[in-house]
Structures are given as C-alpha cells and as structure tokens.
C-alpha cells in the first residue's frame, strides 16, 4: 500500500479539497449516534444496521449513506436520526420506522411528519434541528461537528478543514505567536478550576527542563457529567489537533492522553485517531515537513475519580497508584517524571484549533468579561430536555434550564441547580438569573466544574443531596490525608443520621467545623472542595437541616425514614390502581371501599403516590406530623368519581 503520509501544508489542503469535492452533493447522509455508548445503549446500532439494509434493498446506495457519529446532544429524544443536506431531524426513532424514512425522505425528499420533534407546550412540529428550541439557543462551536463526522474516519475531519489550524500554527506562526494568541484569547481551563490556559502554557514553556510533556485529562467522573467522553468519542481529532498545537507552542515533543477505563469507546476511538494521524504523518517526526516532532501515547486509566487530579494522574501515567502528591512546586515546572508538564482538560484542548483558526479576537467576542468562549454542560436531572448543550458563557442559568432544557417536568417548581459535581454546590432558584461564568458561580459558593449540571425540583431534599455527594467522595477519596478521609467519614455519618431523623443539636456546627478543616488542611483539591455540597446546601437551605433535626420533618418529603404515605378517605374513589401497583401488597380495600396503607408493610417506594390519578390526588406524603388514623375497615367511598 502506498504511503498515506502528508508531507506539506499544501498536500493537506489538497487532501481536504479532494475529500470535499468527492462528496456527492446529491447524496443524503443519514447521521446516527452509534459512536456514543449512550446512543448504543438506546439502540442506535440496530437502527444504523437497518438503514444500511433498507438502503441496499431500495437500491439507493448511490443516493444515500449512513454516517456513524458521536453524541449529537439531544439525549432525551434518543435515538435521533439527522438527514443531511436538508437537516431533517427525527426523534425517538425505532428500527421499524426505518423503511418509511428510506422510502419517503431518502427516495423522495419528503418528511415523515410523525417522527418530528413536537414542542410539548406549543404542539408545533419542528422539521429541522434549528427549529427546535433545545438547539436554537445553543452555540455549538466545539461540539457542533460531532454530527457530521465519523470519529473513526480521519478524512471526515480533514474534509471539514481539520488539521488546518495545526498547519497554520506550524507554517505561519512561531511558537511564541501561538502562545500569544492563546493568551490573548483568555481561554480558561474547562476541567473545573478555570486557570488561564495561556499562562499555564507559558509557565511550562519557560520552565527549565530538556523534556516537556503535554497531557490530556479525560478522567471525567462527576456524577451526571459526560461532556469529555462525548468529545473524545465523537471528535477525537479536535483534541489531538489542539494537543499538537499546544505542544508546538510549549516546546514539547511527547504527550499522553489519559482516558478513564470506564470509557471503552472513547479509548478505542482515541487509539484509532492516533493511529490514523500517525499514518498521515500528523503525529511523528517532521510533521507536515515542518521539522516539528511529536509523539503521543494513550494511557488507560485505572478507575478512580481522584485520578483526575493532576498529580494523581501523573502518578498513574508513571505506573504508580493514582493518588495525589503534594504540589508546592507547580506541575508546569515539575510534573510528569519531574519534568515541566502541561495538563489540560479535553474540552480545553478542543478549543485550541478554533482559536488558531479564527483568532483570539473572535474568541473574545463570545462570553463575559472574565470567561470567554462557550462551555459544554451535561444538563440532567429534573428537566424536560436532558442532554449535552454548548452555550456561550454569560447565558443565565434560567435560559439554560427553561429555554434549552424546556423547564421542569410535570410543571413542578425548580428548587436548585447543582453545578460542579462533588466539588461544586447547589445554586438556589433565587440566583437563577446568574450568568454562567467561572467567577460568578464561585461567588455563589459553587463552581463551574467540568460542566455537570443537575436540575432539582421541590421533591429533592437538600440534606439528602449533600449526603449523596459526600458518600460519593467517601468512596472516591484516595484516603491518604486525614482531613479528607476522616472528615468525609464523619460528614457521611452525621448526614445519614440527619436524613434518618437522628440528627442532634450541634450537628450543623459540627458539619461547618469539619468542612472548614477539610478546606484548610486537605492535601489536594478533592479534599479541599469535597465539603462544598454540604456547605452550600447549609448556606441556602439551613431551614431544611433544622426541620430534619428539630422536627424530624423532611420538607421535600423525600427522606424515607421521615416520610409516611396516607390515603385520604375523603378523596379516595377506591379505583384499585394503587392497590394493584403496590409491590408489597401493603394497600387494602376493594371496589367501593376506601383504601388504606398498612404502615408496617409499606416500604415507602412512592409508587402509590405516583400512580394515584391527579384528578383524585388521594395519596399524600406526610412528614413531621402525626399520621391520621386509618379509616374503619369497610368504610364506603364518599367521593363521586367524575368522568
């Protein structure tokens, strides 16, 4: 086989043009997210196979092809099928819908109305992605190419101008100019801390040391967050290109990509991307004939949340246990193997080619004074449209939750938004007009974090929320230093007790005391921030803690030990629905006889509450007040069932 090596900027440009011109403009592309593990679990693979089969059967091979892509963002309506060039957008597609899409859309360019997105409030159908509110408020500069490329095909990336920024950096800019451009862009680290990327690069560049390393941190592990996975699965070349540009600016010739073990597809796609880039000579010696050498290894993580901490990650790459070490000397000066090391998060690297291509001025035109560019969030929890969203910095949390997220299911009221994962905190409803910005979120006691955003409604107990995150860290802390290990252990016990109605006076003060010592004295940032979920819930929802401790009442009626279920005899129509659905047969009653719950048998699973038809609303949750006496056996229904 002839060498695929591209040996000059010109050849790269020519290849890009060739790929673009080879693409038949009349050929439809069926884009399906089979290259994301969540898409796969929702059956996207079967749909892609069915498309291939139906296209063949209809003899449309020349007119249409399937493109396997990474995550497209709108996870709530997965599996999604997008048909290019029109951009027709079909949601919740099943394999049996495929023949109709093939015969209507692929053969005749007609829409299949019933598969279009329907706005739940207006009832209007949206034919294209841009017509869907979930997308129309976004600014997908980093994430947008996911739907257009197969991450296993480097040509797809090059066809969209990929590696053009690398070529520009190598041939039209000096390393200093590249560094200067990134500094001027004011890009800040997307992994959570928000440290200025250019400054980190500069420190590494200026540090003394023959060998310098550049690293990609893909050890994302915040509960509910999957931004980095989706970039790594869906567009690994964008990260590679950013890494190469960074290495050139810093003067590094070796890099590592640390991918957590729980991301098998991201790992595979990264390996494949590196291999293809090597074949093209985009990684290796004398890249594009520029004289710049760079090699990269992909390191598979060993499954610990704490390994995402910079020094722990470096320990892991060195072959040691992935535990943090003291860093009174910055890793930019003494990092991997004691050498100057620049570690950036996946999303940070993916921003770099954009900045080089379009300039720092363009990048500065997006965002707020202190936070430039966009941020990808995984919008999850009690929100109608869950998924990955990319928005300009400065958008308010309210716009994000309501305009993009479509608000709270069942018309419930929003209570708080949790950002920043286990290191972050909750932001209550009254601060929903806060713009998304590194500094603004920190001011509220939370943080940007890597982009996890969990929406919580009135049914969410804030003490229980703190307990969840503290328990998470109890298991995920490395356990080396005493404030983090013992502090978390005790916070967990205290919060467990409070949720079970065994809280005591003085518990709130003890939580604050422990949290302060953890912040002041922990070895790494995990310990230093692990108490934030407890501190912010205390800051904004202290009354909930007090209700649990003093009144044995859970205001959200979510803590099982403090909540009972009761069927109001005056409202019950004896419809039998709750009785039939109760998994422990704790509900008694029959047709015409009001139902009642045997508290001894009840496991508080909430099923009866959920299945009782809203027009009756006879099942009540009760917390902090005495349970009314059950009706006398055989009490007849008094309420008339209306229509």
């Amino acid at each position: 086989m002839a060498s695929k090596r591209i040996s000059s900027a010109k050849e790269l440009e020519q290849l890009g043009r060739d790929i673009a011109s080879k693409a038949d403009p009349d050929k439809r592309i069926v884009s399906i997210c089979t290259m994301s593990v969540c898409g796969q679990s929702r059956g996207s693979g079967a749909i892609a196979e069915r498309f291939a089969e139906e296209i063949r059967r209809a003899g449309l091979e020349e007119k249409a092809e399937v493109r396997q892509t990474g995550c497209q963002g709108f996870c709530e309506r997965e599996p999604v099928v997008i048909i290019f060039p029109e951009g027709f957008y079909y949601v919740n597609v099943e394999p049996d819908d495929v023949p109709e899409i093939v015969s209507a859309t692929l053969s005749k360019g007609e829409l299949v109305e019933r598969l279009l997105y329907t706005d739940p409030t207006t009832g209007e159908r949206a034919a294209k992605e841009s017509d869907i509110p979930f997308y129309s408020h976004q600014m997908p500069i980093v994430f947008g190419d996911n739907r257009r490329i197969n991450p296993r095909e480097i040509d797809d990336y090059i066809g969209l101008g990929g590696y053009g920024a690398l070529s520009k950096a190598l041939f039209q800019m000096s390393p200093e100019q590249v560094l200067d451009e990134v500094k001027k862009s004011n890009l800040r680290g997307r992994g959570g801390g928000g440290f200025p990327t250019g400054r980190k690069w500069e420190t590494t560049r200026n540090a003394s040391g023959e060998t310098k390393y550049v690293l990609v941190n893909c050890d994302e592990g915040d509960p509910g967050a999957y931004m980095d996975r989706s970039i790594m699965e869906g567009n690994p070349h964008s990260v590679l290109e950013g890494l190469l540009i960074g290495a050139y600016a810093i003067g590094s010739h070796e890099g590592f990509i640390y991918v957590r073990d729980e991301y098998p597809l991201a790992y595979d796609n990264t390996i494949q991307a590196v291999k293809q880039a090597e074949e093209y000579g985009l990684i290796g010696e004398n890249i594009l004939g520029s004289g710049f050498d760079f090699r990269v290894s992909v390191h598979r993580g060993a499954g610990a949340f704490v390994s995402g901490e910079s020094t722990a990650l470096m320990n892991a790459i060195e072959g040691r246990v992935g535990e943090p070490r003291m860093k009174y000397i910055r890793t930019a000066v003494s990092g991997l193997k004691g050498m100057p090391t620049c570690l950036n998060n996946v999303e940070t690297w993916a921003n770099v080619p954009l900045i080089i291509n379009r300039g720092s001025e363009w990048f500065n035109s997006i965002g707020t004074e202190g936070s430039k560019g966009t941020k990808i969030f995984s919008l999850v929890g009690k929100v109608n449209n869950t998924g990955l969203v990319e928005v300009p910095m400065g958008m308010t949390l309210r716009q994000l939750v309501y305009d993009i997220g479509g608000g709270i299911p069942q018309g419930n009221k929003l209570k708080a938004v949790q950002t920043g994962g286990p290191s972050g905190g909750v932001i209550p409803e009254q601060y929903l007009d806060t713009p998304i910005d590194f500094d603004e979120l920190t001011k509220l006691g939370s943080m940007m974090g890597s982009g996890g955003m969990v929406v919580m409604d009135e049914d969410t107990c804030m003490v229980d929320t703190a307990r969840y995150f503290i328990s998470f860290c109890c298991e995920e802390s490395c356990g080396q230093c005493s404030p983090c290990r013992e502090g978390l252990r005790m916070l967990r016990e205290i919060l467990n007790d409070i949720c079970e109605g065994k809280g005591q006076e003085g518990d709130i003060e003890a939580i604050e005391d422990i949290a302060e010592v953890m912040q002041d004295a922990s070895l790494c940032a995990l310990g230093g921030t692990a108490a934030n979920p407890a501190l912010t819930t205390l800051k904004y929802f202290r009354d909930e803690y007090e209700a649990h401790i003093r009144e044995q009442r859970c205001p959200a009626q979510a803590c099982q030990a403090l909540t009972c279920y009761y069927i109001d005899p005056a409202l019950c129509t004896a419809c039998l629905i709750c009785r039939r659905n109760c998994p422990t047969e704790a509900i008694y009653g029959e047709k015409g006889i009001v139902h009642w719950i045997d508290q001894e048998k009840c496991i508080k699973c909430d099923t009866c509450f959920q299945v009782c038809p809203p027009r009756f609303s006879a099942v009540r949750r009760i917390s902090g007040e005495p349970l009314p006496e059950p009706p006398a056996p055989g009490t007849r229904v008094t309420r008339e069932e209306k229509g």
Partner: protein, 209 residues
Amino acid sequence: MTVELQIDGKEVRAEEGITILEAAREAGIAIPTLCYHTELMPHGTCRICSVEVETRGRMRTVVSCGCSVEQGMVVKTRSPRIDRIRKTLIELLAPTTAVDGELGGQMKKLAREYGADTHRFESRFRDRPTRCILCGQCVRYCDEVVGEHAIGFMGRGVDRRAVFFPEKAKACVTCQACFNLCPTGKIPSETDFVVFDGFSVDDYLAGEL
C-alpha cells in the same frame, strides 16, 4: 545559599531547599507531626504539621514537612486557625485510634495540648476502629530504608488500610523496624511478633480489616 525567613516572630536563616519543618526544628521551634520521619521522604498526609505562611502578601496554609522555605516567608506555627485544624484532626482521628476510649502516646499528648475532645465524634463512629491513622511510616520505612516492600496500602477513601504482604514478609520476624515507628502502637500490640498474622492483604480482601 541561604534564605531568611521569620518563624513565630523569630528571624531565621535557613539553607535553601529545606522544608519549613526542618528550618523550624533547627531554630528550636517545635511543630507536631504524626507521619513525618527524618529518614523518609515527606508524605504530607497527617496534616498535623500544618502552618500558616505569608509569601508576597498572600496568606495560606501549608504542611511544613513538604513546603520549602522561601526568602522573606513569614511562618506562624500556632494561630487560631492552625490550633483549630490540629484540634479537629485529633478529634476526627480519635475514635479509630483509641483503645477502650483512651488515646495513647503522641495522640494523647496532642489531644491535651490542643484541648481536643477525644469523645466528640465517638458515638458517630460506626466503622471498626483500626487503631491505625494511616501515617504510612511503616510502609515507607519498609520501602525506603529496609527495601523489603513488605507493607503497603490497600483500598481507598474510608476503606484505606495498611497491610502486610505475607509472601514479602519473610524478613519481618527478625527486622521489626516498623514496630517502634507506629505512633499508635498498633503494629507491636496486634501482630504478636508474627507480623502478617491477622493483618495481611488476605485479611483485607476477606473484609476482616
């Protein structure tokens, strides 16, 4: 090369590159430690030796065993903040360390000095007391000085334990260097001179530690 710094109001001249702890001890200023050992690389995990430092107008808390001295640094080894850190750490470590509710050795001394209520979190401590504060002196001494690597850490978070590796522990019967290092006395009192008995990686995996 030497640098000048101030520790607890005292002007101190120290060799560049040494730690705050070393400089303080040379100047006759005591800082308590639990995981520090002069023959071992600083581990910085007990955090008892935390001190407040001010450099270039910026105040922060660091562990003195791991942070190097700097020209013009102002160090406070005692302050309300530092005393509170030490007091709370002793209170948090007490339930896992105490035998019959009583602390011994260095822990007892520290509890008295910092006014720690060693029973503060007792009723809330529901795990099995291990009598180990995970200072790692035994592990590191065996690695760095003895070179046998017969002890190591297992698990993470609240499940972290120091354990013996039986197949590596042949030399332990005669060595026993770690016996005198253990600040809580766990190793000499629990091993009965057959060091890996009841204290091994197998016991950990069986959920008995």
